[in-house]
Amino acid sequence: MRRKGLSYAKYGYIFCIPFVLAFLIFSLYPIIYTAVIGFTDLKGLGRTDFKILENPFQNFITIIKNASFQQSLKNTIIIWVVNFIPQILIALLLTAWFTNHRNKIKGQGAFKVLFYMPNIITAATIAILFYSLFGYPKGPVNDLFMMLGITDEPIYFLIQKSTARGIVSFIQFWMWYGYTMIVLISGVLGMNPELFEASEIDGATSAQTFFFITLPNLRTILLYTLITSLIGGLNMFDIPRLFLLGGPDNATLTTSVFIYNQAFSGSYMYNRAAAASMIMFVIIAILSGMIFYIMRDKDAAQLKKFQKKQQKALRAAEKAGRRADG
C-alpha cells in the first residue's frame, strides 16, 4: 500500500510544473531583473544594454531624496487612510445591521448587489466618469450641489489639492466598501451560532452582542482586510493616473503613477523606476509577511511549537540527568 502511494507521488510534481514554470518566467525573473536594473544606468527608449553604476546604490539614493517620490508616498498613504477609515466603519455598521437577527432589513440581497456593483466596473472608466461628473463651472455634481442649496457658486473641485485628493479617496471608498462589507458578513456568518444564542439568552442588547461577541471574533478578518487593502492602496494606479494625471500640483500622484511616469512617459528612466519599484516591493513584502503570519495553518504551527518545547524539555532533562550522574 505504502509503495503504491509513493509511485503516485511523482504526479504531484508533474502537475505543478506549468505553475512553477510560469512563475519562474513571468514573476521571479522580472523581479530579479527589476532589482538588477535598479543598480544600473539603464535609461532611454529602446535601450536594453546596461552596466552597473560606480556607486550601485546611486539610484536608490536619488529616489529616496527625490521630492516627487516623497510626495507620492505621502499622497498614497493619505489617500489610503482617508478612504479606509470610513470604509471599514461603514462596512462594520452595515455588517452589524445585516447580520442582526432580531430586526432584519428587507431587501438585503438587492442592497448587497448595489453596494458591491462599483467594484466590478473598470476603474479606468470610473476615473474618467468622475472627472466628467466634477466638471467646472457646469457639471453634474456642481449642478446637484446648487440645486440642493449646498453651495451658491460652482466649486472648482479639480484644481484644489484637498478636494482633488478627497475625491480620489472617495472613489476608492465607494468602490471598495461593498466588498469589505460582504467579506465581514461572511466572517460573521462563519462564527459559531451558539455564541449569539448564548448572548441572546443572557439578555444582551444588539449593540452589546456586536461589540463584545462579533467584533472580537472578527479580529483576524479585520486585520486581513486592513493589510490587503493597504497593499492594494500602495498599488493604486488607474484612478489617480486617469482622474487628474497625478495633479493638481502632484496632489494625487501615487507611487505607482510616479513609477509609471519615470519609466514610460517621456523620461524613460528605467533604472530610477526600478529602484522605486524595489523600495515599494520591500514595503509590500513586509506587509505580505504579516498576512502570511496571520493565515498560516495555526494548528500546524502550534503542533510544531509543542514539539519543539517537548524536545527542549527532553534535552534539558537529559542534561540534568547527565549532571546528576556526574
Binding site: T228, L242, S277, M280
Partner: protein
C-alpha cells in the same frame, strides 16, 4: 416604557433604511447620469448636466465618438481575446496545481503550499520594469501572450481551489478510477474538473473581470492602436480630442460599462457568494 422602546426601535429602523437607500442611490446615480447624458447633446449637457430622462442625440453622439480615435469594437475584441485566454489559463492550471496539492502525497507538498501563500500578494506593478525590459528584449511587446500566459501562475486562485478540493474531494473516487485503469491525467480532466465546476465558475468570473479591467500591464506593453484593450480605449476619452464632446465621452464610457453590467446583473448572486467565499483573497 414598552411604548418608548418601540418608538426608538422604529426610529432606528428608519435610520437604517435611510442609510441603505442613500448608499444604493450613491451606487446608481453616477451611472444613471452617464447613461442619460450619453443620449444628450453637448448643448443640453452644458445647459443642465443632470437629467434623469434620456434625450434624442444618441445617434449624433455615436457619430462623433466613432469619428475619432475611439474604436470600441476593436477594444472589445482585443479585451475579449486577452480575458478569455487568461481566464482559461487561470482556472485550468490553478485547478491542476490545487489537485496536485490535495490528491498526492509528495515530499515538497507542504513547502510548495507555503511558497504559494508567500507569493500570493506580490503585485504585478512592482515587477513591471523588469517585465517590460524582458518582453522588449524578446520582441513580445504589442503581443497578447505576455498578458495571457502569466495567468497560468495565479497563487490566489490555487489557494481558493485547494480549499474547495479539500472540502469536496474523496480519494475513493480517484482510487476506483485507477482500478478501472484510468491514467492520472485522464482522471483529472474527466473526473476532477467536473467535480470542481462550481469553484471553476466562481474563479472564472473574477479572473475574467480582473483581466478585463486591467489597465497597467496593457498600457505598458501595447503601444500599437490596433492592439488597444478596452481600458486603454477608455483612457483616450480623457484626451484633448474629446474635450468639448461631452455627450460622446459619456457614450464611450457607457459602452465600456454595459457588458460588465450585463454580466454582473446576470450573475450577481454567484458573484456575491464568490466574494463571500473568497474573502481570503485579493
Amino acid at each position: 416604557m414598552r411604548v418608548k422602546s418601540n418608538k426608538s426601535l422604529y426610529i432606528g429602523k428608519i435610520i437604517k433604511y435611510f442609510v441603505c437607500i442613500f448608499l444604493a442611490i450613491l451606487s446608481i446615480f453616477p451611472f444613471w447620469i452617464m447613461l442619460t447624458n450619453a443620449t444628450r447633446s453637448t448643448y443640453e449637457i452644458q445647459q443642465n448636466s443632470i437629467s434623469l430622462i434620456p434625450s434624442t442625440y444618441l445617434l449624433d453622439n455615436i457619430r462623433v465618438l466613432l469619428g475619432k480615435s475611439f474604436n470600441p469594437l476593436k477594444g472589445f475584441i482585443n479585451s475579449m481575446i486577452i480575458s478569455t485566454g487568461a481566464t482559461l489559463c487561470t482556472v485550468y492550471f490553478s485547478s491542476l496545481t490545487a489537485y496536485a496539492l490535495v490528491a498526492y502525497d509528495w515530499r515538497l507538498r507542504q513547502p510548495f503550499f507555503t511558497f504559494i501563500l508567500a507569493v500570493m500578494m506580490i503585485p504585478a506593478q512592482v515587477t513591471s520594469i523588469g517585465f517590460y525590459q524582458f518582453m522588449y528584449r524578446v520582441h513580445m511587446t504589442n503581443n497578447f501572450l505576455p498578458l495571457i500566459l502569466p495567468a497560468i501562475a495565479s497563487p490566489a486562485t490555487v489557494f481558493f481551489m485547494r480549499q474547495y478540493l479539500l472540502a469536496t474531494l474523496s480519494i475513493d473516487i480517484v482510487n476506483s478510477a485507477r482500478i478501472d485503469g484510468a491514467r492520472e491525467f485522464y482522471i483529472f480532466n474527466k473526473i476532477i474538473l467536473p467535480i470542481m465546476k462550481p469553484a471553476v465558475a466562481t474563479q472564472a468570473i473574477f479572473s475574467f473581470v480582473g483581466s478585463w479591467n486591467n489597465l497597467f500591464m496593457p498600457l505598458i506593453l501595447l503601444t500599437d492602436n490596433d492592439k488597444y484593450t478596452m481600458p486603454i480605449m477608455v483612457s483616450l476619452l480623457r484626451g484633448d480630442i474629446y474635450k468639448t464632446e461631452f455627450g460622446s465621452v459619456y457614450l464611450g464610457l457607457s459602452l465600456t460599462v454595459l457588458p460588465l453590467f450585463v454580466i454582473y446583473f446576470m450573475l450577481s448572486k454567484y458573484i456575491i457568494a464568490g466574494v463571500a467565499l473568497g474573502g481570503v483573497k485579493e
